[in-house]
């Protein structure tokens, strides 16, 4: 099954990207070739293989539940593109 332009457009919404017309064409062509290449994994039988999500398979790394200094608010806000004295600012979300 090959990737269609509509598929790519849908994925661009899921990935929170906005692609122009020319970009959508290029992306459809390039992703089609890359996905065509990765399809080769389908030829391997892996029914009894456990998936390996991580290189060091560690579980339950605990840390002490201790109070510590956290990033001061002005430092956390310092890089924000739009802010007030206390908060990040975003366009109105309600009442659209």
């Amino acid at each position: 099954m090959s990737l269609t332009r509509a598929d790519v457009e849908k994925v661009s919404l899921l990935g929170r990207l906005r692609l122009g017309d020319a970009e959508l064409d290029t992306m459809t062509e390039q992703m089609g070739r890359i996905v065509g290449y990765i399809e080769q994994l389908g030829e391997l039988s892996t029914d009894n293989v456990q998936p390996m999500a991580h290189a060091q398979e560690m579980h339950n790394v605990f840390a002490d539940d201790a109070l510590g200094a956290s990033l001061p608010r002005d430092a956390a806000l310092a890089n924000a593109p739009k802010k007030d004295a206390e908060c990040y600012r975003v366009p109105a979300v309600l009442g659209e």
């Binding site: 899921l14 990935g15 990207l17 992306m27 080769q40 998936p51 390996m52 990033l71 310092a78 890089n79």
Partner: protein, 515 residues
């Protein structure tokens, strides 16, 4: 002075035959002279570096205790957070980002009395193998400025080859330390996953990313790894095991060393000059008493396909944080709202109910436009691939299957390391290619990583060391060739010993280009 190894320079620093100010000034002069062409650095702050060097010199003169790097300059890849200093990841998205804290490796370097000389250029968010994907400029290969330095740690490798720093920090998710080390003729080590803390490393693919040392020699890399490595409670994936004193064991000889040559690494696509240099390197080891046997990593041919599912999947999740709200680039909000209002009006006029229903909300449009404008083409491609591989209906077919093949790749290594101590072969299939040669063909670029990605997938250690130069007949000028040696997890001490053994018997690591 600039041609000397870091270990050698440190000896002179420690007996005050050389001051850190003199040394730092010499590297800053070299940067001033040649970085206009090489373009290895994104940011250099000469005044801060010299002030830091002077402070270290003063402490040494007063007889105060000195850290392990006692005044040696170190360059840092611009994907690692430095408090109060820009960290851009080679992206317009983070062009003005100033981290509020230091990465653990930066903290360790400062505690070891390193002088941070500058931040090096890279492929945007470490995605690429040529440093052509930097949003700011392309770094050139000091051996031939029409060619790429490799990537994504291209600036980190090029600054060493151009003698602009004695030590450099890179990161490796699929070969990003080893391949540029090979392309620039320097030594680059990707430690075992978990050996070095990732705290403060801007995440690309969290189960694959690893920070490592780059330097002229294995001895210098050992010195640097001693400072970088160790458990860190701030990174829950960092291994809670002791760090060996790599520099102490480095000159111990090996008895009965067994090396494996992977037959799949010598197939079609391998450049004949690279193959000849690697086979010559194998002979060097044999002359030093090693035995060599052919081995097989039967699933290695699936490495690229596996990697280009897992790495983009993790990237699509990690890069979701760039939303134009918390930090980084944000699209012009007024213009965005005006565009959206015009689209709504036009849909209403057409009574297009479906179009109106599907129209982005202001917040979604803010995310989408911010990311469309802030990310470059390769980053977008990886976000798209990863989002697709994880999307409903495809996650089992692609992502889950890739995780299973990852296990098969690791099992191949486990079996091979029952038979041999190390696996050796080429780092990259070809010498450095021309700038622009592969940039229009993403799949061709991905295939460059053929010999390196499997170490990241399996989580093992790997190093690239110089093992030859091309004749220049087909490439115009002589170009470096890298030998990759791979080792069992957490076997960096023996890996560095094996690399040092080769460098005692050869002089490829001492070659530097005419700038």
């Amino acid at each position: 002075m600039l041609a000397r190894s870091a270990t050698d320079l440190l000896r002179d620093l420690s007996v005050r035959k050389l001051s850190s100010v003199e040394l730092t000034q010499a590297y800053l002069d070299q940067i001033k002279l040649y970085d206009g062409q090489v373009k290895a650095f994104l940011h250099v702050d000469p005044a801060a570096a010299l002030a830091r060097a002077k402070e270290i010199d003063d402490r040494r003169a007063a007889g105060k205790p000195m850290g392990k790097l006692g005044g040696l300059p170190v360059a840092i890849k611009d994907v690692i957070c430095t408090k109060g200093q820009k960290t851009t990841c080679g992206s317009k998205m983070l062009e003005n980002f100033v981290p509020p804290y230091d990465a653990t490796v930066v903290k360790r370097l400062k505690e070891a009395d390193a002088v941070l000389i500058g931040k090096t250029n890279m492929d945007e968010f470490a995605m690429g193998g040529s440093t052509e994907n930097s949003a700011f400029f392309k770094t050139t290969n000091p051996w031939d400025k029409s060619r790429v330095p490799g990537g994504s740690s291209g600036g980190a490798a090029a600054c060493l080859a151009a003698s602009m720093a004695p030590l450099s920090i890179g990161t490796d998710t699929g070969g990003s330390i080893r391949q540029p080390a090979a392309f620039c003729g320097v030594t680059g080590l990707k430690p075992t996953y978990g050996r070095v803390s990732r705290y403060g490393l801007v995440a690309f693919a969290s189960s694959l990313d690893q920070i490592g040392p780059m330097a002229a020699t294995a001895e210098d890399a050992a010195l640097l790894l001693e400072v970088l490595a160790g458990h860190d409670p701030l990174d829950s994936t960092s291994a809670n095991i002791p760090t060996p004193e790599y520099t102490k064991s480095l000159s111990q000889p090996f008895q009965g060393l067994k090396l494996g040559l992977v037959k799949e690494h010598f197939g079609p696509g391998l450049d004949p000059e690279v193959e000849a240099a690697v086979r010559e390197a194998v002979k060097v080891y044999q002359s030093l008493g090693a035995t060599v046997k052919d081995i097989s990593l039967p699933h290695s041919k699936y490495g690229i396909a596996t990697y280009y599912i897992i790495a983009p999947s993790e990237a699509s999740s990690n890069l979701a944080r760039y939303d134009g709200v918390h930090y980084g680039y944000r699209t012009d909000e007024k213009q965005m709202l005006a565009e959206l209002a015009a689209e709504r009006k036009s849909l209403e006029a057409k009574q297009d109910e479906k179009g109106l229903k599907n129209l982005d909300t202001a917040l979604i449009r803010l995310y989408r436009k911010t990311r469309a404008e802030g990310f470059g083409p390769e980053v977008k491609r990886r976000i798209m691939l990863g989002t697709y591989a994880l999307s409903a209906g495809y996650a089992d077919k692609y992502y889950l299957q890739a995780l299973k093949v990852r296990r098969l790749i690791r099992s191949d290594y486990d079996a091979a390391f029952q038979e041999v101590d190390f696996i050796i072969g080429p780092t990259a299939p070809n010498p450095p290619f021309k700038i622009g040669e592969k940039s229009g063909d993403p799949l061709a670029m991905y295939l460059e990583d053929l010999y390196t990605v499997t170490a990241n997938l399996a989580g093992i250690a790997g190093i690239s060391i110089p093992c030859g130069l091309t004749s220049g007949k087909t490439t115009g000028s002589p170009l470096p060739i890298g030998l990759q040696i791979q080792a069992r997890p957490f076997d960096e001490d023996r890996l560095l010993r094996a690399a040092a053994m080769f460098q005692r018997g050869t002089d490829w690591h001492t070659k530097r280009p005419n700038l």
